[in-house]
Amino acid sequence: MSIFEVKGLSVNFTTINGEVKAVNNVSFNIAKGETVAIVGESGSGKSQTVLAALGLLAENGHATGSVKFEGQELLGLEIKNLNKIRGNKISMVFQDPMTSLNPFLRISDQMVEVLTLHKGMNKKAATAEAIRMLDAVRLPDASQVITRFPHELSGGMRQRVMIAIALSCEPQILIADEPTTALDVTVQAQMLELFKGLTKDFGTSLILITHDLGVVAGIADRMMVMYAGKMVEKGNVDETFYSPKNPYTFGLLHSTPHIDDPEKRLEPIDGLPPSLENLPSGCAFHPRCAYSMERCLIEEPKLIVEKNGRSNACFYKGKLGDKESSE
């Protein structure tokens, strides 16, 4: 049973250089309690996909397609009604914990606001609830910390506060956009454990946006790989990691250094990610792809559902990785 359904979502931005397609016909479903990772490099459209779903696009952006939460269409929904859902049933944690808190307000004010607005609590009850939430995300000295200003807290503490705010209305879906990228590795490990606990204890669905395949491997059930605004591969984490079908996914996995296997020479993807203003014809990945054929230059491969709920958008049907070894 999916509680979140995205169908044919496209996002366009009007810029001085014309229309830019940041997200191109993306579809996916999220079931209750599952963790899904959206993986991609900068400019792949992974953040814009979820921002569009929550009506948070920049002014020059517009979304088409359909985003349904529990059957209700979110795209084009009035702000008033949308606000009943976002921050309440769907909430979001952003990458930079330094800039997503208001520097002029105490932590207590920022947390109480959410609770009074969405849950109609009075200030006293809301404060008690806020402290309970900070305890839940294992922030030490919650009753002390809540009286402080954001600048008095460390990066990890701020990210915990952000997560506590996002969770305070017991959302059904938590969207986390690169939530650990700005954190040190020991603190990142703490955060990932925290996320794992949430999905297990509260049945929250987690959409995790990240470029870090190590993070994906440790936490996600399914993953979706995006390139130049399109979804190129979708599947459960184990199968996608151990037998990737799309050459881009294959390339990403072989570009990532493994701490256990330092002698292995990395096999980077040639070339650079394309500019969205000037996408290659056909399959946007073809100039960097070791398997590209004539057809890839002309025709755009569609995301085709294969068995076990896996999908792949690529014309090449042979085995990946053989090319190098046979040469």
Binding site: V185, A189, H211, G214, P268
Partner: protein
């Protein structure tokens, strides 16, 4: 025996933090008690979390920052005693690659001018044509096309800009390059290209590298030896294999456990008994062993006494009272 290029002895650097009218002046100790030597041809990785002093150490070696005390002995000369003028002849041997590739390139100069700049100041004997020739050869070595020579930095992506930075560092034929988080700002697919390039140029030019990074997987991939810093001090220094296969310092152990592995089955098998808490402020570090506030093995002795840096054989250094217990 004269394989030792660089020797660092008891290096220390503090920064003053100016107080206000009612606030006491304080000092921040960025690095302290840092001693190590570097053999020709090796790559030393320096890892640690933010604020551990890894970048400060790199800059102190190059005399871009003036250390408070200690020595940086480069081929027999103590660089800290030389002063700017006498330091100059050494600059062509010691180069640096920075983290943010675009910010470290002058936006008003063309790629050719940027790469040739160190030649102009450090090898003034070369004429225009010789410089041009060297620049083109270097651009080829780092994977830049010759027609890019007259373009400006803003026309390049992060990965290509980093290639320009590498070419600029290599052009004076240095002996040592300090790479300060050279791939942290790059996308994964491009990061791998730059890591491979660094490996290749190291072999091609017979370089010695100091590779500073917060990413333990990346450091493991490139380094022969690794130094782990915590709040400005050496926690552990060992060969790459020893450190990863058999970490001895509790901080190294915790760091290695916290690194996410891009392998779902291995990732699930791991138990992350991660560290609690965060790095304390370097302005007011804990007494005794600075790691004790987060250490599972800490006891009273750790609060009172700062652990000595012990040489436990095979060039392995460790600073912990209790490493034998673990």
């Amino acid at each position: 025996m004269s394989n030792i290029l660089l020797e660092v002895n008891d290096l220390k650097k503090t920064f003053p933090i100016s107080g206000g009218m009612f606030v006491k002046k304080q000092t921040l100790t960025a690095i302290e008690d840092i001693s190590f030597s570097l053999t020709k041809g090796e790559t030393l990785g320096i890892v640690g979390e933010s604020g551990c002093g890894k970048s400060t150490l790199g800059r102190c070696i190059l005399q871009l920052l003036e250390p408070d005390s200690g020595q940086v002995v480069w081929l027999g000369d103590d660089l800290t005693k030389l002063g700017w003028r006498k330091m100059r002849p050494h600059r062509k041997d010691l180069q640096i690659i920075f983290q943010d590739p675009l910010a470290s390139l002058n936006p008003r100069l063309t790629v050719g001018e940027i790469i040739a700049d160190p030649l102009r100041s450090l090898m003034p004997q070369l004429n225009q044509a010789q410089r041009q020739q060297k620049v083109l050869a270097m651009m080829k070595s780092v994977g830049l096309l010759p027609e890019m020579i007259s373009r400006f930095p803003h026309e390049f992506s992060g990965g290509q800009a980093q290639r320009i930075g590498i070419a600029r560092a290599l052009i004076t034929e240095p002996k040592l390059i300090i790479c300060d988080e050279p791939v942290s700002a790059l996308d994964v697919s491009v990061q791998a290209q730059i890591l491979n390039l660094l490996r290749d140029i190291k072999d091609e030019f017979g370089l010695t590298l100091i590779f500073i990074s917060h990413d333990l997987s990346v450091v493991r991939h490139v380094s022969d030896r690794i130094m782990v810093l915590y709040l400005g001090r050496i926690a552990e220094l060992a060969s790459s294999g020893d450190l990863y296969d058999e970490p001895k310092h509790p901080y190294t152990k915790a760091l290695l456990k916290a690194v996410p592995v891009p392998d779902p089955i291995k990732a699930r098998e791991r138990t992350i008994e991660g560290l609690t808490g965060e790095i304390p402020s370097p302005i007011n570090p804990p007494s005794g062993c600075t790691f004790r506030t987060r250490c599972p093995m800490a006891d009273k002795k750790c609060a009172k006494e700062r652990p000595q840096i012990d040489d436990i054989g095979r060039g392995r250094l460790i600073a912990c009272h209790h490493w034998r217990k673990g």
